[in-house]
Symmetry: C2
Subunit: 199 residues, 2 copies
Amino acid sequence: MTVISGASGTGKGTVCKKLLAELPQMFYSISATTRKPRPGEVDGKEYFFITVEKFKTWLAEEKFLEHAEVYGNFYGTPAHIIEEKRNSGVDVLLEIDVQGALNVMKKCPDGVYIFLLPPSLNELCNRIKNRGTESPEVLQRRIDSATAEIAVGKNYQYVVVNDTVDAAVDKIKAILTAERCKVERNLADFEHFENSATN
Amino acid sequence: MTVISGASGTGKGTVCKKLLAELPQMFYSISATTRKPRPGEVDGKEYFFITVEKFKTWLAEEKFLEHAEVYGNFYGTPAHIIEEKRNSGVDVLLEIDVQGALNVMKKCPDGVYIFLLPPSLNELCNRIKNRGTESPEVLQRRIDSATAEIAVGKNYQYVVVNDTVDAAVDKIKAILTAERCKVERNLADFEHFENSATN
């Protein structure tokens, strides 16, 4: 399981989209939400749209890796769907905010945690500004919160600077290749040699 | 510093040669030896050819990361040369036998340790057989010793199966890219954001 996270305005969405286009065998984990679908949104594509009752049942059954309430709607990452995919040998990609990722880290220490950094604070400010016409106070609050989120990135395993989407995606692909080469993920290879040698 | 190691017959030499051809900015660390140069061997290319006196001086000055005596000749990995390169920001590649790598691991825990595996025990036997016309007993001893070396590979960080040289080199390059993305190697990036934010 690979978790890609980063402060808002870092470009997580664009990077994940490109990554999935290049690695179509990866399963992109989508959240469950109790909010109503917006026009064009499809159940099972952008989100799993579920009722508040179902959300509460899943929550009681500990079916969420992490969950949050935003503006009165519930959002959660369904662990059982990720688990199903992982058990069948499928790589799972999770795109998640900084706070959510920290919670997932506690529950899944064997995941690969990648933090995306914007190329510079200036660039981050520009990206946040370009998102909407907010008041200077709101903008400053968003920038402060993004800066605080960046400090949390030190708890991740890997950091990738998103200067260009292509370069960031290449680095993430290299991280996935390297993680597949970790000895602890390949102990079966060593056992295979030991067994062949004794036969 | 990247250490590539593996049992004899795994193809370390060929893989390192290809890797260096693709990453010419890497410094390939060569050993110092007291044995005489063979025809065609150049001091500073295949080995640093040094006298027994100089070897003993370097040994007393703890200038070797590891050393060994083979058939009456001394071999050692000069730490000071590697240190010089690393301090000037140059990536260093070390190709080293299994026992030597274990010693280097203790002294340089921040290195990247990659273990090369042959595709199969059969393939390893073939490669060892093709190296010379030894007696069945000597062959069996070499195969046993290679099998024992493979078991040590579990102590490394990464394992790369050398099924084709190109694929193995690509994986090693991905490992180097991923290692450069490790958070602990990029703390300066985070400090940079913290400093910009407070200014």
